[in-house]
Symmetry: D2
Subunit: 344 residues, 4 copies
């Protein structure tokens, strides 16, 4: 039984960590921090956790207390993990950061997109990008994990087999992505109200979104040429789920794309390639850590369309964080992540 | 490890049994029947089950095959369990019926509300009404369980402490209930379309609903006088969840109703009395077997308002069925039912 | 063509006034105020109004400018109309207040429920409660209208025929009401987020809601005895709509309740009594000023169940305000309010 | 006042015609046909129409009765207008067909996509494709209108300025489209149930959808080269609305795309180009005949992203049909179509 803590536990990724870890047989949540809610019991804020964490209470962040734990999750806005990760790592506590703080390897690019200096550039060399389907071996030995963003997870897993195999033109990629509203976080903002966001659909950030450089970096790692990527995120009126529709152009001949995908992911516990002709639904992964994928080639032409769905709070955040923890601590990769999606 | 089967597994209670049983460490699903889908793999119909039941296939109902199992769930329309239960019981297979077939003890009343003769009146004496909070000991020794309906579960658990204590007038009960649309089943009907049922709210069956006699029978079992009950169900635009708002009039003096509820349910694993002043949300039990309850006395008058929420597919159907199975087979009552609700 | 202004136009009732008045042939909106949005064009905030109010801009409230208009709507939080109404009335501008400021005739009771002194008690005698089905003649000659709240409108119209006819016991009324989330306004609050409020149902204010004294006052006006009312509001996951389910006990014999309702409302342009056995859906009045009503007597007993639906932003606020304006200025009562509901 | 009829009025485009025509001052609906509902009053099926069409009753289709009208709308599945249009046109009744029957000019292509022979190839030369922004003058003199499909409307209006100006490569167009569920019609199908389609997002028809050849034909009409188009439709959990996200590659230099769009649509009553940097929401056109468009050029590169939204039942069907009727009969093009969208 390892002991973990959660920094910044009041948001959706924090409560999702609690929900999932309640079913994890080898992890005990010993601390959860929140400046704004210090002193409040987590089950008073999240009644679904009544009976599961009846004594766990939000506390002020305290580096000493966190340093006594085996691992700490950061479920915080960007910038927070920068300030605390170094001290925790020095003390031997492993850090699994769900924020964007260590996702980009280039501190200057991070500064450009996040509008502030990078707070811990010395740790960038050590940080491992926590996409197990790309970096499983590194993750096993990592001390500091940058858990991928939600859109980047869905997009990278969709393009991975094609780019690794060198079958598509990497300079003309189009990722049209749709997210449920938990992707916008738990902040009280008018556009996220049910009265504003339901019964409507819209794009946002069409001119540039912070997940763009992260996706680009990940796709560049898959092959030699610099990718050209257009990424347009959209808001869809539902709570959870991301659907990525990925367009690219075949450069080589008539490969069996279905077989390519099935082979690439045959040993992956959390990537499920659907039968040819399928259209994955986001609800098929609701509450679950799986990415379901289908690949199409409309009218047999040279355009490939990949459909990739995840739960943004699970494989796109808290579930993937636990998958990383399982790898880091030598547990079965699926431990605590084995419940089927909630459907209907 | 006991072996179970599911008759009529294509509906929402069937797939919910599969979802929940996938996490049950002591149960193996050996058979699932459906005339219409015989030969189809369950994971082709329900992609959330991919990776969990990869070989389980719908089969034609076959009394011999079912008779080789330890227990059989009926997740069927009314009338089906009537025809098969007797033979299974004779062969030593226990029957847990999620339909209405054995809920009413009076065959004539059953005929009146269901518009056809009762198909197995000889079994009525033996059938146990599977509400553990009322009939736990009988359930432990039962061979045939009538799993309560969804509305009846929420309503009975809400009134139970008040009626047992004799504090309210049983002749003027009003149960105003609201259900998500899975309560209407998986049938393809125009009023259940998203385009018809979302962004709208309506009552139905105001003049008489089949759950009325079941609730009445249950409330009568709690005290001596015949109850007078007005029951109005409503459809609310969401997938899962029932909210019962229960009105009654205090006949005795100023009892501490909060303490009454807390004491009555202190040892119940699946009834959670919220702190005074609370308003339970249906989402706090989404996918979960708990009934959460709050009790109010507006303006300190003699009207009591009880708010009771369940997931209609879990505590209102499949979860309660498994809770019964756990009791019947001597397992921990919470086995396989311990995951927190999905929230948000 | 009369000239009107709107004070506090950024909320949902404000934009709904603009939407409806865009179709009103005899009204011109000359001013709309908002401290927070002064200088912003209304069509930049509400893109549905592009092409309809292309020059109308939010301005700072200015009593002189408002005083030059024929009528001013207040779509403000409580307390604002108190401060401005008197000056406007003196200058000859009629005031139609959609807030709670003049709904209760008793200043002390207002203070009790709103937690502050009443700001304009001298105007209470003059204020007319703007429920045309009760006070049409007074409205025609009024200078100051208190537009009824949304719940009070649905509840009063549902009980009106029964109480006027003296058929039910007024001391045991139960109003179980359900509202879409626009009823909570456009404020940025966590519980109103789509991620929190959708796929869930809950009661709120079970121990006391500010609409309770307003409803009680209205029901008292319908007959001689003081009413006893239990009112429990609920939040339902949809944008618009209120459904009131109203319970009462018949004191007299077997009247034809259907005929009673049809007769009482036969000349009302905005109350529609559905055929016997109906269940009104809130979507049938989406965007529309009608209240649709059905009356039931379950199992022929002495309990009457009235089902009453309105659009909380139309008949429950802005549409009713315009209906009042039509009466005050001698227009056809339906002018500008004649479009069918949006369905589906 | 002209007299019109509707063939096949029970579906969503039929009821939407009724809703919109209730506000049209120059049109009287004299007949509405439905084999399945003959004898039923429309307001019994659609309670939002109570008070608007209190005597209009569904009738059996009768060519003689329809032939006495000025115009007939077909709101039918494909194949029905083929059978009746010719006779009506001969008798002098104009035909506005909302189905797919006359959208494709090539009868063979129609047969290929619809799996049956074209039933009225002789009328194809005469049929005018009813997209006023492309064919306004022809529409004015047409006797037979093929109202464009919903996706084709949103896509064509989005690409029109770019293709007419020859600024983009027509051989690599990608239209990623999202529709509310009314696009699937009012048929009782399991995947359209609220319990199945809400809280989920999915693509469908990725390998080929019947709107593909229609869009291709329309885009080919805008410029000389044959277009290459990938079209992927998706289902989004809401009632109404289409959002088209349109990708293309600039071939020429750095044009001012915003100015191009504004100029092209400056005189169009139902196309609204939003300010630079905008993201149109589908709710901004709910119930309304406008197409709102924004154009983006992410990171200043050579990819153009056009965002185009319509209400699939209005500009994508019934509203556009009335816009065509207005042009054909010399009315103001906006007559009866002037109400703002319902928002929130």
């Amino acid at each position: 039984m390892i002991k973990v803590g959660i920094v910044g536990g009041t948001g959706y990724t924090g409560v999702e960590l609690l929900r999932l870890l309640a079913q994890h047989p080898a992890v005990s949540v010993e601390a959860i921090t929140s400046r704004s809610e210090a002193g409040v019991k987590v089950c008073d804020m999240y009644p679904n956790l009544r009976g599961h964490y009846d004594t766990l209470t939000f506390s002020e962040p305290d580096a000493r207390a966190l340093g006594a734990l085996d691992a700490v999750f950061f479920a915080t806005p960007h910038g927070v993990a920068h300030a605390l990760a170094g001290e925790l790592l020095e003390g031997g506590t492993r850090v699994i950061d769900l924020s964007a703080d260590f996702r980009l390897r280039d501190a200057d690019e991070w500064s450009h997109w996040y509008g502030q200096p990078h707070g811990a550039p010395a740790l960038l060399d050590e940080a491992v990008y926590g996409l197990p389907e790309m970096h499983r071996e590194k993750i096993k030995h990592a001390r500091l994990i940058a858990v991928p963003g939600c859109y980047p997870t869905a997009v990278q897993l969709g393009y991975l087999p094609l780019l690794e195999a060198g079958l598509i033109d990497p300079t003309r990629l189009i990722a049209d992505c749709k997210s449920g509203v938990t992707g916008a976080g738990r902040g009280a903002k008018v556009p996220s109200l049910l009265a504003e966001a339901s019964e409507s659909f819209k794009a946002y950030g069409a001119s540039g979104h912070r997940h763009l450089p992260e996706i680009r970096q990940g796709l560049n790692d898959m092959q030699a040429s610099p990718v050209g990527l257009t990424f347009v995120p959209h808001l869809t009126p539902m709570i959870r789920g991301i659907h990525a529709t990925l367009y690219s152009t075949l450069t080589a001949g008539a490969d069996d794309l279905q077989a390519l995908f099935e082979k690439r992911y045959q040993d992956e516990p959390f990537v499920d390639v659907l039968p040819a002709g399928s259209h994955p639904e986001t609800r098929s992964v609701k509450g679950n850590n799986t990415c379901r994928i289908a690949v199409h080639r409309p009218q047999g032409g040279d355009t490939v369309v990949v459909l990739s769905v995840i739960d943004n709070l699970v494989k796109g955040a808290s579930g993937q964080a636990i998958q990383n923890l399982n790898l880091m601590f030598g547990f079965d990769e699926k431990l605590g992540l084995d419940a089927p999606a909630l459907m209907p």
